[in-house]
């Protein structure tokens, strides 16, 4: 499994256009939308549009790296650390990490945001 880290300059998004490859051992079964024709067809050609469907808007200066899982390598996104979390320990930070943030179709929650 390969972990790819989001930064202010580069945001990673994972897809399997050919079927539904997904990091099962870490994230469990993929969500239905991940396996849908809408997601698989479009995220490679219009990643910002798909992110907008899912409520995520990134700065225009952030590059988007889409990872199409065409082989048996599995990709897991390490979301960017949210602002205002300098004092949080590992367990508290882990609470902010959502499944979608590890697919790259979401961001980590900020402290106090509803889960």
């Amino acid at each position: 499994m390969v972990a790819v880290e989001n930064t202010p300059d580069e945001h990673h998004v994972v897809v399997c256009t050919l079927c539904s490859c997904y990091p099962w051992p870490v994230l469990g079964l993929p969500p239905t939308w991940y396996k849908s024709a809408a997601y698989r067809s479009r995220v490679v050609i219009d990643p910002r549009g798909v992110l907008a469907d899912l409520g995520v808007t990134l700065p225009a200066s952030t590059r988007i790296a889409v990872h199409d899982s065409t082989a048996e390598v599995r990709y897991l996104v390490v979301p960017m650390r949210p602002p205002g979390t300098d004092d949080l320990d590992e367990d508290a930070l882990a609470e902010l990490v959502t499944r979608d943030s590890m697919i790259g179709t979401g961001l980590a929650r900020v402290p106090g945001e509803a889960s």
Partner: protein, 217 residues
């Protein structure tokens, strides 16, 4: 093959509709299809590559109008018939015509450990890798009638090797019972404009994992 499963770049499917994180099934039969598919796969009669090939071989009109687990069920039926484990008559009747042959059984308690462990597809390579990170490569233009994991949108395009992943079982052969024939696997990055033209987002890239025989210098 150029099957309906190769969806990258197609248009007209509408927006991506999110769901709550815990919502993974929409009917009880979907859970059952997942369970039966895993149990049947554990018999070891076919490879993951063959199972992907049967699903991509479903006629496009049927594939594109079937839900995910309906595609899995159709694929499983085709595999069971192709391997002589179930007949079409038995499928139609909904019951076995006679006693089945002994099979390796995946017990409920073994499912989670088996899934967590996964199946290794990495292989030691006797040859050295032809390409290295940083190399410019071109994906071959090809339209094989059999299985391939090189998506149509990524054929005949120039990209950059960003990682050498090691030796991996070659799906193009393994799906057809021709053995594993492992090859070096590379992650290749393409600029969106190389794949999609001038209208594409100039700040986005697409990576694929490509076996060595998919690539040329």
């Amino acid at each position: 093959m150029n099957g309906a499963a190769d969806l990258g770049g197609m248009m007209g499917f509408g927006p991506v509709v999110p769901e709550p994180e815990g919502e993974l099934f929409h009917a009880e039969w979907e859970r059952r299809v997942l369970a039966v598919t895993l149990a049947a796969g554990a018999m070891g009669r076919w490879t993951i590559d063959e199972s992907r090939h049967v699903r991509e071989s479903i006629p496009p009109a049927e594939y594109l109008t079937s839900s995910y687990y309906a595609i899995w069920l159709r694929g499983l039926e085709d595999l069971l018939v192709a391997h002589g484990l179930v007949s079409r008559d038995e499928l139609a009747a909904g019951r076995a015509a006679g006693p089945g042959e002994p099979a390796k059984v995946l017990h409920a308690g073994d499912v989670a450990p088996a899934l967590a462990a996964g199946t290794p597809y990495t292989r030691e390579m006797a040859t050295s890798a032809r390409f290295a990170a940083g190399d410019r490569v071109r994906t071959r233009t090809m339209h094989p009638r059999g299985h391939t994991r090189l998506p149509r949108y990524a054929r005949g395009h120039t990209g950059t090797v960003v990682a050498v992943r090691g030796g991996y079982v070659l799906p193009d052969r393994n799906a057809h019972g021709a053995g594993e024939q492992p090859e070096w696997l590379y992650t290749v990055r393409f600029d969106a404009r190389e794949l999609w033209g001038d209208d594409a987002d100039p700040t986005s890239t697409v990576d694929i994992d490509a076996w060595e025989s998919y690539l040329e210098p």
